[in-house]
């Protein structure tokens, strides 16, 4: 077994038992990145020198008995998290020259706990996408391919680089963010675990903003327990984010061992979407069967406004994005394109700096917020959003968690679904409601489709009850025994 085969929990035990050093583990990952990143494009920046220094410091800490939650664990950081002195682009041309003078709270928490940063992970531009095709630094290629078909597939998005890196074992875990499904959908496509915690659980300070009322950070990792360990370090109250929740951070990893005996698991009938492949429906039923066998009670429930989630999202998210992205003006930071006067400078900078999908969303957002249309679009969407939240509140009075498919399909090929934005948006039909309502959602790899591609199941829970979500996710993971590996991976 090579070092890159270990899970995060196993690597942590090995480091503490001095079976190998943090420097050895980090060198193994850096060598794997050098060999595989040219194929995958999962990293837009590799920080080998910094990683080696952090690894040496981790070994020194371990030697003096100061072993923290993540001491010596090498991670990839989505390029949406500001990292002090290390370029942070959000996947956009407009931030290509940007080097933050500060560290995001989430990455600072990881560094506090001893983590090692291997580099910055590729992503859809400003986290707007479900395929990683909108990155200004080129698409990420999934480490998975269909059986007997070498066409490159997408890793999902927007956290496509994070998910591909973890799946291909060129990172032991990674940070990600989820505004409409950007952690859970790529986790499902890449056969790994990923959780979007409750809104407010992780500080948004220092994360490049897309849609502030929806954005939430979380981890992607090889196992549910690994995701729980990472989330424990990423979480916590932060006075610098006015929406950060001042609540205790429980032991998420311990919750993975709770089991599901006596839990009531809801099955929302509205998640049976038209045209969903039969194998996804079958896997869903299988997952419910596994939970029933482990002592859970399965209950049919209804979330009547599910079908309006996406349309609501495509008002709220672009509206917030148009406001958040107003800061990219070519004056204070980022790229600048000259113009004959100040307005021309703004217009040229933003025309050159933003890609097509970002422009589409900024324009939609500008329109729905413009005088005369605000009530018809934005106010209406906020009211539908209230109804979506009420659906969940009503259902969680009766059940402890919900189980659904994560995405309506397995990974698709690069270039597919590119002709029609709405076709791409439909990827997020099952994930968006959790963002609209702020509740936690976890994707667990549960099986393969007929072409050998991973499919995930999603566990949704009550606000700030990630523990039950982890308990259910770990139970699904144990029963599924998902051991399939992608063709492109370290140690293959």
């Amino acid at each position: 077994m090579t070092l890159t085969d270990l899970t995060l929990a196993e690597a942590r035990d090995g480091l503490r038992a001095k079976r190998f050093s943090a420097v050895e583990l980090t060198e193994a990952y850096l060598a794997a990145i050098e060999a595989l990143n040219p194929k995958l494009n999962a990293y837009v920046l590799v920080t080998g020198e910094g990683a080696r220094a952090q690894a040496a410091a981790a070994d020194a800490a371990l030697a003096r008995g100061d072993a923290r939650a993540l001491t010596g664990i090498p991670l990839a950081i989505k390029d949406l998290f500001c990292t002090e002195g290390v370029r942070t682009t959000a996947g956009s041309r407009i931030l290509e020259p940007f080097v933050p003078p500060y560290e995001s709270t989430v990455t600072a928490n990881l560094l506090r706990d001893g983590a090692i940063f291997l580099g910055k992970a590729n992503m859809d531009e400003f986290a707007m996408g479900s395929s990683n095709m909108t990155s200004a630094f080129g698409p990420v290629t999934s480490p998975w391919t269909r059986r007997g078909d070498n066409r490159p597939l997408v890793p999902g998005g927007s956290s496509g680089g994070s998910a591909a890196a973890v799946s291909a074992r060129i990172a032991l875990g990674a940070t990600a963010t989820d505004t409409g499904g950007s952690i859970r959908q790529p986790a499902s496509f890449c056969g790994i675990a990923g959780i979007k915690p409750t809104y407010g659980r992780c500080s948004r300070w220092g994360i490049v903003a897309f849609a502030s009322s929806l954005d939430q950070a979380g981890p992607v990792a090889r196992t549910v327990e690994d995701a729980a360990i990472l989330l424990g370090s990423m979480s916590g109250f932060d006075a610098k984010d006015s929406t950060s929740a001042d609540v205790a951070v429980p032991d998420f990893a311990a919750a993975c061992r709770r089991g599901v005996k006596g839990l009531r698991i809801g099955v929302p009938r509205e998640y049976r979407s038209e045209g969903m492949p039969a194998e996804i429906e079958a896997l869903w039923q299988q997952g419910l069967g596994w939970l029933r066998e482990q002592g859970a009670e399965i209950v049919d429930v209804s979330l009547p406004h599910t079908k309006y989630g996406l349309a609501t999202y495509y008002i709220v998210a672009p509206a917030e994005a148009s406001s958040n992205l107003a800061r990219y003006d070519g004056v204070r930071f980022g790229a600048r394109t000259a113009g004959e006067d100040l307005v021309a400078l703004y217009e040229n900078t933003r025309a050159e700096g933003f890609g097509a999908e970002v422009k589409r969303r900024v324009l939609i957002g500008t329109y729905v917020l413009s005088a005369g249309y605000y009530d018809a679009y934005y106010l209406k969407a906020q009211k539908v959003r209230a109804l979506i939240l009420k659906d969940f509140t009503d259902v969680f009075a009766k059940v402890d968690a919900l189980v659904t498919p994560t995405a309506p399909s397995a990974a698709f090929a690069q270039g597919e679904k590119m002709d029609d934005p709405i076709k791409m948006y439909l990827n997020d039909v099952f994930t968006v409601p959790a963002n609209m309502s702020g509740i936690p959602g976890l994707s667990v790899p549960a099986g393969l489709d007929a072409q050998g591609l991973p499919l995930g199941l999603q566990v949704l829970g009550r606000p700030f009850d990630e523990e039950t979500v982890f308990a259910v996710g770990a139970a699904l993971e144990r029963a599924a025994g998902f051991t399939a590996l992608p063709g492109i991976r370290a140690g293959a």
């Binding site: 020259p97 940007f98 080097v99 003078p101 809104y199 407010g200 929806l214 006075a239 006015s242 929406t243 929740a245 001042d246 406004h305 309006y308 349309a311 609501t312 495509y314 008002i315 148009s322 003006d329 070519g330 004056v331 204070r332 930071f333 980022g334 790229a335 600048r336 000259a338 113009g339 004959e340 006067d341 100040l342 307005v343 021309a344 400078l345 703004y346 217009e347 040229n348 933003r350 025309a351 933003f354 422009k359 589409r360 324009l363 939609i364 500008t366 329109y367 413009s370 679009y377 106010l379 209406k380 906020q382 009211k383 539908v384 959003r385 209230a386 939240l389 029609d420 934005p421 702020g438």
Partner: protein, 95 residues
């Protein structure tokens, strides 16, 4: 509701994104397709529903109204495309 080319140009102006004449028609098609799809929300009865403004059900905190950071002009200006002393520099705005 369908956007005309003049509205597309007006939105682009409001968003401060230069849109060349040759791009207007393609953008108009894209935006109309998205707005048309969003129209499905008209089916939802929202009479008497209070709008949900944020992702959290908690009240926003207030902080002490005190200076808690500052005096770091070089860090603030460190990423500026153009600067003049302790100021961001832009093309001449006032004659």
């Amino acid at each position: 509701m369908s956007l005309d080319p003049a509205t597309v140009r007006r939105i682009a102006k409001l968003a401060r994104i230069r849109v060349d004449e040759a791009q207007v028609e393609a953008l108009r098609t894209d935006l109309n397709s998205i707005l048309g799809w969003i129209e499905q929300l008209n089916e939802v009865d929202v009479d008497g529903v209070e709008p949900l403004t944020g992702g959290t059900q908690m009240a926003l905190r207030l902080r002490e109204d005190v200076v808690n950071d500052g005096g770091i002009a070089d860090a603030v200006l460190g990423n500026a495309p153009d600067r003049n002393g302790e100021y961001f520099a832009v093309p001449k705005v006032v004659e």
